[in-house]
Each structure stands twice: as C-alpha cells, then as structure tokens.
C-alpha cells in the first residue's frame, strides 16, 4: 500500500528531513511513527499525501508514484488519503455535520449521498447527537473525532494522522485510539499515526517505526524488532 524506496527529502533551507529511507507498509496495517522532535515524522506524512515531493527515490502509495504527480493530479490522488491533524482544523462557522459534508462537497458528491454518508460517519465516530453543534461547543476529544470523521468521509484507503492525540488527556486519547482501531478494522483503512505518547504505544500495541534525524532507527512489530537492513 505504501512503499518508500531510497527516499530522501531536503528542504530548500538545506535541512535533510528524510535520508535514504526504504520501507513497506501493507494494506490494512496500523503503524505508529515515533521519534524525537525534528526527526522527520511530519515530513514522512507529507510525502505520503503528496504535499512534499522527494528529491531522491520514489514514494508509491495506492499504486501511484506520488512524487511524480502533476499539480493538477494531486487532488484526485489525495481522495485516497485521509489526513488528521493535531490541531483539528475544523471550520469554525460550520456545524459538525457541515464540516464532514464539506469534505464530500469538495469532491463533488451529490447531496443525497452526502447526507447518508455523513450520518453513517457521525455514528462511527460516536457523534450522532452532535451533528448540529459548532466546533467550539465540543470538547477536544469530540472535535478530534469530528476531524477523523471528515478525514474518512470519502472512504480513503489510507489514513494519516499527525499527532491526533497531542492535545488530549490520556482518557480522550484512548477513546481516539479505539476509534482509529475500529476504522482500521471496519473500513479496512491503512493507518499511519505519528505520536509522542509512549503510554499509548505501550497500551495499544502496533507495528512501530522509530525515526531519528531522518533515518529509521527501529521497526518493531508489536514490541518485537524487525531487522531492517
């Protein structure tokens, strides 16, 4: 599903964010990406969703060579990728329902399908009774669930989440984890999640990729090490 082959990314300011990285993430996998600040985690996510292009190597996601995509083609590719951020990024003047519907309107879905799917999604993220609320009327955990709802509304094959629990207390974080696990199982969505939360990684055991200064320093399957040379 996601393949990095010899990928390097250097920003215009000369920072080498990702260095000669090769890895494979299979369809339906749930993977943590951990590492100290500045180790290249967000850059990794941006290479997957096509926001950044590698200057060496190839990133292949859902059979698409992401780095070679023309500007005009990026949107169509990106419909395969759901993105969740630490800071939610809900539109403040739209209700929860409208925020999720927005993602589907933006790709030109028809009204009927949108209504049906948004109800379904609201149920999945456990916000059925909050559809009419504005983001400011929700708790942090609820806002994050709304964002996840928006990210999966278009049934992406891959969901990338950059510290989705970064702003939440442990209880809310576990709630989000359980939701992501459900999405991973029920919708067969491949998930890559960036996190700093050691407790979470220990509690919900998954394949864990550790980055340091742009290199993969460990790739562990549920606690056990995978040799990665």
């Amino acid at each position: 599903m996601i393949d990095f082959v010899g990928v390097s990314k250097t920003y215009p300011n000369g920072v080498h964010a990702i260095k000669n990285m090769t890895l494979h993430i299979a369809e339906g996998e749930f993977v943590y990406l951990i590492g100290p600040t500045g180790s290249g985690k967000s850059t990794f996510i941006k290479l997957i969703d096509g926001e950044e292009v590698p200057d060496q190597g190839t990133v292949t996601v859902v059979n698409t060579n992401v780095g070679k995509l023309k500007f005009k083609k990026v949107p169509y590719y990106r419909r395969n990728i759901g993105v969740v951020f630490q800071d939610f990024r809900l539109l403040p003047n739209l209700t929860v329902f409208e925020n999720i519907a927005f993602a589907m309107e933006a790709i030109g879905e028809n009204k009927h399908d949108i209504r049906k799917r948004v109800r379904e999604v609201l149920q999945l993220v456990d916000l059925e009774d909050k559809g009419r609320c504005f983001p400011r009327e929700l708790s942090g955990g609820q806002q994050q669930r709304a964002t996840i709802g928006r990210a999966i509304a278009n049934r992406p094959k891959v969901l990338v989440a950059d510290e989705p629990t970064g702003n939440l207390d442990p209880e809310k974080s576990s709630e989000i984890m359980r939701l992501l696990e459900r999405i991973n199982e029920e919708e067969k969505t491949t998930i890559v999640m960036v996190t700093h939360d050691q407790q979470l990684v220990d509690t919900f055991k998954k394949r864990t990729i550790a980055l340091e200064e742009g290199y993969i320093v460990a790739d562990m399957m549920k606690g056990g090490y995978i040799n990665h040379e």
């Binding site: 969703d49 950044e52 590719y77 993105v83 990024r89 539109l91 790709i107 030109g108 278009n154």
Partner: protein, 300 residues
C-alpha cells in the same frame, strides 16, 4: 458539463458570501469597474458618432469644377458629358457664372461687398460634380483636371481629412488611456480576490487535504470576479440608456448643425450596453483569473 451547470448555484452562493465578507475591497473594485466603463462609454459614444458623421459627409461629397474663361457657352454640354463619363460620378450640375456670383453675393459673410461686380462678372462658370463615395473623390478630381476647358477643381476633402485625422489621434490616446484604466480595474479586482483567497486559506487548505480539484477551488473566486464586473457595469449601462437618450433629445438629434446627425438612441444604446456588460465581465474574469493562478498554488 452537467456537473459544471449543477455547481453554478454553489459557486454563486460562495462568491456572494465572499463579496459580503470583504465588502470594502469588493466595493472599491466595483467602483473601479464603474469608472472605467463610464469612460469607455463616453469614448464609444464619441467614436461611433464621429464615424457616422464622417460617413455622412463623405456620402455627400461634391467637387466644384470651374470652367476656363475661354470656353464658349456652346461647349458646355460637351464638357458636361465628359464629366459625366468619369467613373464614380453620379451627378453633374451646371452653374453659370452669374449664378456663381449670385451665390457669392447672397452669402451672408460677404455683406454685399460683391454687389459692384454685377456689371463685369470676373467669376467663371462651374460644374458641381457628385461622387458616389467619399473615397473616390480625390481620383475624380484628378480626372476632372485632365479635361480641356476646366480651370481647376476643389472639394471640401481637406477639412474632412483633418477631422478624421484629429479623431484618429483622439482614438489612439483615448484607447491607451482606457486600456490603462482597464488594467487598473483588473489589478484592483485581482487584489480583492487575493485578499479573499488569503482570508480563506484555512478552508482552502482543508479543501486541498480532502482532494478538492483545482477547478472546484478556483470557481467561486472566478464567479466573484464576474460578479464584480457585472455590478460595476450597472451604473454605466443605466447612464448609457437614460443619459444618451436625454442628451439626444436635448440636442434635437444633431450636434451643432444638421450635417452632424447623432446616432438614434435605439438600437445604439442597446448595443453599447451589451458591449459594456461584456467588457465588465471580461475585466472581472481576467482580474480574478490572475489572482487565482498566482495565489492558489502555495500548497500542493
């Protein structure tokens, strides 16, 4: 195609919201379009009327061919036949020497000072030669001069030419001026749209994240530009329709003399209104297109 049509209400709604949200910049853009179009309108009124004046003058153009003093009365019919034989001549009228003098005496400006010439008329007889079209007059004059017994030939071509030349230079400078104004209006619209794009960065970023196509993101801004163009053309169009009719009636359909007939308001004002609307829309569309193409690419 169906999708494009279906998306029109959505885009109109978005564009409208955006205009309201950023009313100050929108109003100033509308204002710029209004000023530009009013100037274009005034210019067009002048241009179309002058070109119709010159056409009127040209269609009545006439050469005055004066006869040599040695020519006998009996030779006049033969001369007349020769003149009529020239290409593009539609009419020839003989005017005797005494008639020429009478005309001169009757001319108000002479104030009777030629009365004393009645006994010994120094003026030659003449022919009025009518050309079919203004553009043939110069050539007709040449042909006339070749005929024996003709002293000279003249037409009012010089004053017409001066007028056309004068207007051509007005057209040039006016055109440059209006072009510059159109650019200014486009620039203002482009800037307004730029501000609006900036205000909606967050929303656009989310649209990008969920895979909205570039066209989908651009469309509301293009509609907004077109709206500004349409709003900007309202006042100029009203001015055209009511103002031109008013001026036309006030002047009695002529400018100074009956030689300069103004274009009748219908259908002229309708054409002109259509032209103004199209220019307004184009200026708005191009202005927003410039902004959109430059400012929507900050994020892949």
């Amino acid at each position: 195609m169906i999708r494009v049509i279906k998306s029109i209400p959505y885009n109109i709604k978005k564009a409208w919201k955006s205009i309201i949200r950023n009313l100050g910049a929108s109003v100033s853009s509308v204002f710029a379009v209004t000023i530009t179009l009013i100037l274009i309108m005034l210019f067009a009124v002048a241009a179309f009327n002058v070109s119709s004046f010159t056409k009127n003058i040209e269609t009545h153009i006439q050469v005055l061919a004066r006869v040599d003093a040695i020519v006998e009365e009996s030779q006049i019919p033969e001369l007349e036949a020769q003149l009529k034989a020239i290409d593009h001549v539609v009419d020839v009228r003989y005017s005797s020497a005494s008639e020429q003098l009478d005309l001169l005496i009757q001319d108000e400006k002479s104030k009777g000072k030629y009365n004393s010439f009645k006994n010994s008329n120094p003026l030659p007889a003449a022919f009025y030669v009518d050309a079919d079209q203004g553009k043939n007059v110069a050539n007709i004059k040449k042909q006339i001069l070749k005929i024996d017994g003709i002293m000279d030939a003249n037409y009012g071509g010089d004053s017409v030419n001066t007028m056309i030349k004068g207007f051509n230079s007005i057209r040039l400078y006016g055109g440059v001026f209006i072009g510059a104004l159109s650019f200014l209006a486009m620039f203002l619209i482009s800037n307004t749209i730029k501000i609006n794009i900036h205000n909606r960065r967050e929303e656009i970023a989310i649209m990008r994240n969920v895979g909205a196509s570039n066209g989908f993101i651009k469309a509301p801004f293009l509609f907004e530009g077109i709206f500004i163009g349409i709003f900007g053309s309202i006042i100029p169009i009203l001015l055209t329709i009511f103002g031109y009719g008013f001026v036309y009636d006030a002047l009695g359909g002529n400018l100074l003399t009956s030689m300069f007939k103004l274009l009748p308001p219908i259908p002229f004002v309708l054409y002109l209104s259509g032209i103004l609307l199209v220019i307004g829309i184009l200026v708005g569309f191009i202005g927003s297109l410039l902004a959109v193409n430059k400012n929507l690419k900050w994020k892949r």
